[in-house]
């Protein structure tokens, strides 16, 4: 192989990578899930107590929940503890699958989603369960309302939102989102295609095995 051939090979590989990048960007376009937005908001609210990133985290949380964030950060809903010692308010978080519904006036979509966090309380962690109501606004999903429904295993007075979201994955519920049947079929087809291309490349590289043994 000459350096020129090598250069062509590298250029072809780069072109292929760019094409794959554009392809992935194209199939990603248009997706916006309330589950992911709910998770982003919880992560941002949790980090609003984290030393060094408070301002940025607060800004991000307010982008997703303009009104609710201020109330939550002020201690509302019992979500954020007073003493987090400069750490994130949540040690970990989990968001469930959202249930979507049209609003009463039929103008935009709504979704409810269940969540669980382990919130810091001084040196301890408290398990909090809750639900969120999200609205599909022009700029994407926004968190509109929140209810904490369970604290450390004890139910708190709450009606929850309608329609009620399914249980969390860790409680036996469905994962937040799943690949569709078409994606699974497509994956298998890609596997077959890769096998064919890989075999062709090996055959192109040489018909004879290059390994020889000195006897």
């Amino acid at each position: 192989m000459t350096y020129k051939t090598f250069g062509i090979g590298v250029a072809v590989c780069l072109a292929l990578m760019i094409a794959i990048g554009f392809g992935i960007n194209a199939i990603n376009r248009g997706h916006s899930r309330p589950e992911g937005v709910a998770e982003d908001w919880l992560a941002a609210v949790g980090d609003a107590t984290r030393e060094g990133v408070e301002a940025d985290a607060t800004r991000r949380a307010e982008e997703i929940a303009p009104i609710l964030t201020e109330e939550v950060l002020a201690g509302g809903y019992g979500l954020i503890g007073r003493d987090t010692d400069g750490k994130s308010a949540f040690a970990d978080l989990e968001v469930g699958k959202a249930v979507r519904a049209q609003s009463e006036d039929g103008t935009d979509g709504r979704a409810t989603v269940r969540f669980r966090v382990h919130a810091r309380r001084a040196d301890d962690l408290v398990e909090l369960d809750g639900e969120m109501l999200l609205r599909d606004a022009k700029q994407g999903w926004v968190v509109e309302a929140l209810e904490v429904t369970r604290r450390g295993g004890t139910a708190t007075p709450s009606d929850g939102f309608a329609p009620p979201p399914p249980p969390l994955a860790s409680d036996g519920g469905p994962p937040p989102s799943s690949a569709s049947a078409g994606v699974w079929v497509g994956g298998v087809l890609v596997g077959v295609l890769v096998t064919v291309v890989a075999s062709a490349l090996v055959n192109w590289a040489g018909r004879e095995p290059a390994l020889a043994v000195a006897r």
Binding site: D47, E94, P176, G191, A198, S199, P209, A212
Partner: protein, 437 residues
């Protein structure tokens, strides 16, 4: 990987006797490279949610930043080649210094892009350190002990992962420094090793070549594109493709499992660290079993069994929610998925004659396998992003990527020659005599 060669007959170990105590010292010093390769990679994998929280970026951005980070291993290819000109020892020692500096700088990152830049630099020197370490073992250890020495090296990569798990269990991530502390802790033994590595000698083979060069003799340097010559190309493409198709799902899964377990299965961070410590600790046995199996049953059957095991248990791991099943699936995914390192290493070396073995292994690792480091985590992050990903689920995305390992089964079964019992010194680059299966 270093590509120095005098002639095809110098593969049988060092030209003079190397004392036993020095070989032990050499191995102890070099395993640190493998240990920190595992350690460094695992910080990213296990503390991904923390890093994400600090820099407040989406899964997609996290996935994309892995591309420049892992490209450092590609650049390492060129740094490693300097060791053929300057010597193994100086380049290795400078690699330790470079890795140390960039690792320290990582702890002071101010945003995701500064983090990516420092990790890129860290990968450049870590990759060079690891590759030169392997070369020094190959050049200094006698043929009969190389396999065990290389196996020890691989095992320490897994121990690096366990160390991160232990530090998480000890609560290091709960300190004020958070994930940054892990990069600072990684500095302490490196500072010590930088000092003790002064006891490292230059390899005898390099000294021999240098002496010949100083005496005005013509030394044949293996050209950059030598492994692409017609007589080697088939094996290079075959082994390279197998490494690439394995590494994309492998590194996609290892980079995202902790994140997946926390965010999609509701594991606590403590649970994740306990799982990692236990499963990786037991899963390390996979390296040993693989080494024994490939000697007893052959490379091809061992590879087939390990590939099937890796695919099946990885899919189980990313599809089930039960804690007990997840634990055993993780253990067996590590056992098969990572444990097949020795047989992959034998494919990358045994199919090539001595004069291009190092160069071929470098092409396979730094060009083909690097695709997995770069694109595996990126693909999972972009496609599995909970908000905007086309799949929106890390578990399903990893499972789908496992499809890419299926072609490797076909390639091994259909094209891979068996090299069981073959002495490296017997592999020459001339007429083909081994029959395809």
């Amino acid at each position: 990987m270093a590509d120095l060669a005098v002639d095809a007959t110098t593969d049988s170990g060092p030209q003079g006797p190397v004392d036993e105590s020095y070989l032990k010292l050499l191995l102890v010093l070099l395993v640190s490279a493998a240990f920190f390769e595992g350690y460094d990679g695992s910080i990213l994998a296990l503390l991904l949610p923390d890093i994400q929280s600090t820099f407040r970026v989406s899964e997609a951005v996290l996935g994309i930043t892995r591309i420049p980070i892992e490209l450092g291993l590609f650049v390492a290819f060129f740094v490693t080649r300097l060791s053929d000109r300057l010597g193994r020892r100086p380049v290795l020692l400078w690699s330790v210094v470079g890795y140390t500096l960039f690792t320290a700088a990582t702890a002071f990152s101010w945003d995701i892009w500064s983090f990516a830049f420092f990790q890129f630099g860290s990968r450049v020197f870590l990759g060079a350190e690891y590759a030169i370490g392997v070369t020094m073992i190959v050049e200094e250890f006698p043929a009969g002990r190389r396999g065990r020495a290389l196996g020890t090296l691989l095992t320490f990569a897994a121990l690096g992962t366990i160390a991160v798990g232990l530090l998480i269990a000890a609560g290091l991530d709960e300190t004020d420094l958070g994930w940054r502390a892990f990069y600072l802790v990684g500095l302490l033994p490196l500072v010590l090793l930088s000092f003790y590595r002064r006891r490292l000698r230059e390899t005898q083979r390099f000294l021999q070549v240098k002496a010949a060069r100083d005496a005005g003799q013509t030394i044949r340097q293996v050209p950059f594109l030598e492994p692409w010559k017609a007589q080697y190309r088939r094996n290079l493409v075959l082994v390279g493709l197998i490494h690439m198709l394995r590494s994309i799902p492998l590194f996609g899964s290892t980079a995202w499992w902790a994140f997946y377990a926390e965010r999609e299965r509701g594991f606590t961070s403590l649970q994740v660290s306990i799982y990692i410590i236990s499963a990786y600790g037991l899963g390390c046995i996979g390296y040993y079993v693989c080494g024994r199996a490939m000697e007893r049953f052959g490379r091809r059957p061992t590879a087939m069994v390990y590939f099937v095991g890796g695919i099946v248990f990885s899919i189980v791991l990313f599809q089930v929610s039960g804690a007990v099943i997840s634990f055993f699936a993780l253990l067996l995914a590590v056992f098969f998925g990572l444990g097949m390192g020795p047989v992959m290493g034998s494919f990358a070396t045994e199919l090539f004659p001595t004069e291009i073995r190092g160069q071929a292994a470098a092409w396979i690792r730094n060009w083909f396998e690097i695709a997995g480091y770069v694109f595996g985590p990126a693909l999972v992050g972009v496609l599995g992003d909970h908000s905007t990903g086309a799949i929106g689920n890390i578990g399903d995305t990893v499972t789908l990527l496992m499809v890419l390992q299926l072609p490797t089964l076909w390639l091994v079964w259909r094209y891979m020659p068996e090299t069981k019992g073959l002495e490296l010194e017997d592999v020459i680059a001339s007429e083909p005599r081994l029959a395809l299966p």
